[in-house]
């Protein structure tokens, strides 16, 4: 740092910002991370799961020191109708394999830890400060403005989250549209560890992840989620912002009905609500990808919309971490040349293009459109429930062969629709 000029200023101490700060400080750069919340993680929210691979690459064995909740060894997808449910359960040692495993996390703890790693590496963290604007000279970002203070840097990394006003000010991004973002709402419900382990059939330290499709979003695009933490359960819904209110239900009402569903109620019985939160999630995929870099500026994580939307679930933290890493590498390369102009920072885009981020985003690019097909959220759960109802409901009436009953239910959806969706879904995935 020469005088008051930093090598790099990072706006936002979420996973992408802290990882970029950590790597840049390790490389010997003078880094300032500015966080709006009173501490890192205080304004952040996740449904609950971090896939470990990208962080494991940067901090091997991180799960031993980081405040992770439980390692997920059990995955369940449940289709819901108003009163019934059909579940598919996958439990495997494979889920716990190192570098392929995933952990349930609570961001208030996890983000603080990650930010403290950046501080230990030498980054300066200033919390409780809102960055209002960027200093832009001749089209080049040269610093940030916070209140009456101006602070200069060779390069600025925007890690300021889904609604990145700074990326808009830098001319890299347009204002968010309601169909590009989902709203996530979550309750953290406290239960003793042994009750959670008994209820979900887990050993200490092991966790379960559950997804719900169908009635929980009233047939709209989205889904319900449940993650087991050490001493609590994260339960919530994610659905497209533009769908809010179309079923005559407010967001809290939808969550309340979800909690009352017979498939969900026993799982949280006796629990105590300790936290309620809501957040926007970018879910437009490639269609909402901003310009990722400019002169003296890079955009990472949610601010760049780097979230994979599989319709009923969204995944962003492992992408955020990998994008923070790519940004750090690009900045280090730019510093060696002493050139922070856009052509040089384009290296960041190259790194992303050659990583799992762009590969997976490209693979899923049509998925949001496919999922807009409401059959998946309304008719298919009903179809599954109807077939299983015929299989298991015994009332003394003559049984019909499964093939016949199943076929009659499928006809309600339309065999052609069914084949079409199976073909499309199969092609995209």
């Amino acid at each position: 740092m020469s005088g008051d000029i930093f090598d790099c200023i990072i706006v936002g101490a979420g996973p992408s910002g802290s990882i970029a700060g950590y790597l840049l400080a390790q490389a010997g750069l003078e880094v300032l991370i500015i966080e709006r919340g009173n501490f890192a993680g205080s304004k952040n929210m996740t449904g609950g799961r971090l896939y470990s691979h990208s962080l494991e690459k940067i901090i091997p064995g991180f799960s031993k020191e980081a405040p992770v909740e439980r390692r997920v060894i059990k995955e369940t997808v449940t289709m819901l109708t108003g009163d019934s449910s059909v579940s598919l359960d996958f439990q495997s040692e494979l889920l716990g394999e190192e570098k392929k495993d995933s952990y349930t996390v609570l961001r208030a703890d996890f983000d603080q830890w990650l930010a403290s790693k950046a501080e230990e590496a030498g980054a300066i963290l200033a919390s409780g400060v809102r960055v209002d604007d960027l200093i832009i000279q001749d089209g080049k970002v040269t610093g940030v403005i916070a209140g009456e203070d101006e602070m200069e840097a060779d390069v600025v990394i925007l890690a300021d989250g889904v609604n990145s006003l700074l990326a808009q000010k830098a001319g890299l991004k347009a204002e968010l549209k309601p169909d590009q973002v989902a709203v996530g709402i979550k309750e953290v419900i406290e239960l003793p560890a042994n009750v959670i382990e008994d209820r979900f059939n887990l050993n200490p330290g092991e966790g379960a992840a559950r997804l719900f499709v169908g009635d929980c979003t009233k047939g709209k695009i989205g889904g319900g989620f449940l993650y087991t933490n050490k001493n609590s359960i994260s339960l919530g819904l994610v659905f497209t912002l533009s769908d809010i209110g179309t079923e005559g239900l407010s967001v809290p009402q939808m969550l309340e009905e979800f909690k009352q569903h017979p498939a969900v109620k026993p799982l949280i019985k006796g629990g105590k609500l300790v936290e309620y939160s809501g957040h926007l999630v970018p879910e437009g995929g490639l269609t909402m990808l901003p310009k990722l870099y400019g002169d003296g500026v890079l955009v990472v994580g949610d601010a760049a919309g780097l979230v994979i939307n599989a319709g009923y679930t969204v995944r962003g933290m492992d992408l955020a971490i990998a994008s923070g890493e790519a940004a750090a590498q690009a900045v280090i390369a730019a510093q060696e040349k002493g050139d922070y102009t856009a052509p040089n920072l384009a290296h960041y885009k190259n790194l992303l293009d050659n990583s799992f981020i762009m590969r997976d985003l490209t693979k899923y690019q049509d998925f949001p459109i496919f999922m807009e097909n409401h059959r998946i959220f309304k008719q298919y759960p009903q179809l599954a429930v109807d077939i299983f109802k015929d299989l298991y409901l015994i009332d003394g009436n003559p049984l019909k062969p499964l093939k016949k009953t199943a076929l009659s239910h499928m006809k309600k959806v339309g065999i052609v629709n069914l084949l079409k969706d199976a073909w499309k879904g199969g092609k995209i995935l």
Binding site: L32, I124, S127, G128
Partner: protein, 259 residues
């Protein structure tokens, strides 16, 4: 140039304390700490004298776990901080706290003005300020909501229950301030960065002449209080206003609320 000290307490953020079960025991599992609310006003008074009148301004604190507070307090205006961080201070009362603070202030030496919050966010016993004055041999001025420096002392406005008292005194003083006196700053980016370059001096208890701390008061139990509602409905079943009013008066008399 006057030398000013502001004292502050690093307290549990009461928003994070949870009251649990019928016993109303307090759960401190997920707590964070903060600078006691009124002490922020005390620090702001000192910061403003430092910025506007060029006074020397230091912060002082003590406790078992106060090192986490240093960056925060230094971003609020003091030029430096002197503190005692000792496990022996895990549980203290106003008597012990004021002895430790007095020891630190004597060690700093030639302090003209000590500013404290009127009471702490947690205990609010309002004792540390006056006790400190007695231990230092300084004048004590409480309930202050306006404060000026004079040539050789201070002029303070005290907000009392039945009026306002203006006092002037010469010589050193300990002042306890009310939240009305100012609006504490939210540290700016530059103030936060500047704080990282400021100095802090850690003192041991022995260095301020306190080898053993005799704690006379021991806390046996702390629990939350809840006002139980009786849920009595007065005007149910189409009762007239007059009847309801009479019933209400009877109920209040029976409860001892009305003589």
């Amino acid at each position: 140039m006057k030398k000013i000290v502001a004292c502050y307490k690093w307290v549990v953020d009461e928003a994070d304390i949870r009251v649990e079960g019928k016993a109303r025991s307090l759960n401190f599992d997920r707590i964070k700490y903060k600078i006691s609310e009124y002490d922020r006003n005390a620090i702001e008074v000192g910061a403003s004298f430092n910025e506007k009148q060029g006074c020397q301004f230091l912060a002082v604190t003590c406790g078992a776990n106060v090192e986490a507070s240093l960056k925060d307090v230094l971003s609020r205006g003091p030029e430096s901080i002197a503190y005692v961080n000792d496990g022996a201070l895990e549980e203290t009362d106003s008597s012990v706290t004021s002895k430790v603070l007095a020891g630190i202030i004597k060690k700093i030496g030639e302090v003209d003005l000590v500013i404290c919050g009127e009471g702490s966010s947690d205990g609010y016993s309002q004792q540390v300020g006056p006790r400190l004055a007695a231990l230092l041999g300084y004048a004590s001025v409480t309930f202050v909501n306006k404060l000026e420096l004079t040539e050789d002392g201070i002029r303070a406005e005290r907000k009392l229950e039945d009026g306002v008292e203006v006092v002037e005194l010469t010589g050193p003083a300990v002042v306890t301030v009310l939240p009305d006196i100012n609006k504490p700053r939210i540290p700016s980016l530059k103030q936060i960065l500047a704080a990282k370059k400021k100095t802090s001096e850690k003192l041991e208890l022995a260095a301020i002449g306190l080898d053993s701390l005799a704690l006379k008061q021991k806390t046996l139990d702390v629990s939350g209080t809840v006002m139980e509602r009786k849920n009595i409905q007065i005007n149910s079943g189409g009762m007239t206003i007059e009847e309801a009013a009479q019933k209400l008066v009877q109920q209040l008399k029976a409860d001892g609320s009305l003589a």
